[in-house]
Amino acid sequence: MTHRIDVTAFEPELASSTAPRDVSTPGRSASWRWFGRKVAGSAGTLCFIVVVNFFLFRVINKHPERTLARGRAKTPEQVQAVIDKYGLADPLPKQFLVYLKNIVTLDFGDSYQYSQPVRGLMLDRLWPTVALVGTSTVFSIIIGIWIGTIAAWNRGRTFDGLSTTSTITLYSMPEWWLGLILFLFLATGFGPIPRLFPIGQLKTAGVDAWSLHGMVDQTWHLVLPVVTLTLAYLAEYSLIMRSALLDEMGEDYLQTARAKGLSDLLVRRRHATRNALLPVVTLVSLNLGFIVSGAITVETVFSIPGLGLLTTDALRIPDIPVLQGTFFVFSASVVVANLVSNLLYGWLDPRVRV
């Protein structure tokens, strides 16, 4: 689990450079080349993930015929039949090519548990995960940045102390444990507190998901998981925003802004906070894996039928094709999200587009 990484520690070029450069405006071509480099970089990472996926499941898995046969192949002939069926005796390069062909169509084979194509299973479970993660991310970004900003502007005072203590504590907590506690207190009824929320799953049996009642029902089921994830995610955003804004507040150009007659509020909003958001975008993008981990564990605790629960259920057998599929989907999403935030950063901070 990666904790916050101070990116300016290992990218000294990101701290402003005062090298006097009399270059004419870089123009579109330099920006497009930078854009191309970023996309190419992400494509390279995706290729790496594809290779790792193969490596993990064919090479590390010493006896793929056993796992693929789910322990049912007892006699040597049955084992041989499995080997033939999946081409496990073929030379490795040939297996790799077959694997590549399948990956393009996201074909990971059939699940052991459900005897259905993995692709279909993943598609079914996609929406709950997206709803859960998407909502939590949006809330946590907004609330986290807001808390961090106010804490920085009131550095040393009560709000700062309280918020920093709480966010650091939240940050040190396994997010699924927070979910367990919330579940315990608010869903199963504890002492005087009645059962306020459902005990897991996405919907109550027998309710049509697409009716208005169904929508409300789903939302009600998502409240606790979303609250859990939001609290877990916002801790990091708040801490990073606070520290980025404190860094920014010492900069000289804020003095210039004040001298021009801007009120404190405008100096904050228009200059300091906006510029402090830049490192936040980068730092957060480096820790996107955390969002995925949260999805997996919180879905498990609340039995939300998403990709995360699919993964943890698959651990039991183990359902290798499903694991392979979800690993790829999770990793690829993080790569894409990383690319998006890199591009966003480039759009916001023209200095990196060289």
């Binding site: 689990m1 904790h3 790792v52 993990l56 699924w176 993080v334």
Partner: protein, 296 residues
């Protein structure tokens, strides 16, 4: 005094200064105190509670009893005292965390120094590798590796170590890059220092303070990861850790039974330990990274 003695005396002095500086960070000191308490509890476990209490067959309590005078934190699903489990669990959680951190730091430092030092295609390749591993999300990779290698404490520690080195590697790489540019490195090269000599005698000692600060933060993450992996079922069934306790609690319906005494304490211990490591690590970071100092 020989040159080596001079070097050691200098290091001792700077260590003394660091300690003095650290003492002024109240949060860091608080974290350190808490860690010392936990470490003592873990080490002195047999003196505090009877190890017989870990045995499933000899358990004397009723399953999932709420706290009483005889079982201060109640019992688990086998009737064992949760307090006993908690104390012995500290050993496993801390040990696995430290083991994973050791792997992670060694790998991270080696690769970090190497990718910073060798600027040619070796360094570039290592850097790319680090970036790739950094992007892959931790939990899916760890789950896959743990599944394939089988669940045991050693596996968990190994898996965490092997997946968490990129953060350290990047940090060490940037430190290495800044050290390489310094005049005394050029002087060492001119005097004929080989690669190995430069890396071990010059770069490594200068990188150690940051490594030290980073280690503390890595342990925090490792303990969290171990707890998560154990919770998801990869823990050693014969051993108790805070994560396996929570796994047992969850799978045995502690939620529906409202067995808060089983769910709360392990989590609180994890939070306390991770928080303490984080506070200590942040204080150390502030001390060793002068840029962060003005921001207190």
């Amino acid at each position: 005094m020989s040159a080596r003695q001079v070097a050691w005396r200098r290091r001792k002095d700077s260590a003394g200064r660091t300690w003095k500086e650290f003492r002024r960070h109240r949060t860091g000191v608080l974290g350190m105190v808490v860690l010392v308490v936990f470490a003592l509890v873990a080490i002195l476990a047999p003196l505090l509670v009877d190890s017989e209490g870990l045995s499933r067959t000899k358990a004397t309590g009723l399953p999932l009893e709420s706290p009483s005078s005889s079982y201060w934190l109640g019992t688990d699903e086998y009737g064992r005292s949760v307090l006993t489990l908690l104390i012995y669990g500290a050993r496993v959680s801390l040990l696995v965390g430290l083991f994973a951190t050791l792997i992670s730091m060694v790998l991270g430092t080696l690769i970090g120094i190497a990718s910073g030092f060798w600027r040619g295609w070796v360094g570039a390749a290592l850097f790319r590798l680090t970036e790739w591993f950094l992007v892959i999300p931790f939990l899916p990779l760890a789950l896959v590796l743990a599944t394939l290698l089988g669940g045991s404490l050693f596996t968990i520690g190994f898996v965490i170590g092997v997946t968490s080195w990129p953060g350290t590697a990047l940090l060490i790489r940037s430190q290495t890059l800044s050290i390489i540019g310094r005049p005394y490195m050029e002087r060492a090269r001119v005097l004929g220092a080989g690669d190995w000599h430069q890396m071990t005698r010059h770069i490594l000692p200068n990188v150690m303070p940051m490594v030290f600060a980073n280690t503390t933060l890595t342990v925090a993450g490792a303990i969290l990861s171990e707890t998560t992996l154990s919770f998801l079922g990869f823990g050693d069934p014969t051993r108790v850790s805070w994560g396996t306790m929570l796994d047992s609690a969850f799978t045995n319906g502690a939620l529906t039974l409202g067995a808060w005494w089983f769910l709360f304490p392990p989590g609180i211990c994890v939070v306390a330990v991770v928080l303490s490591f984080t506070l200590v690590g942040q204080s150390l970071e502030e001390i060793f990274n002068p840029r962060l100092r003005q921001r207190r």
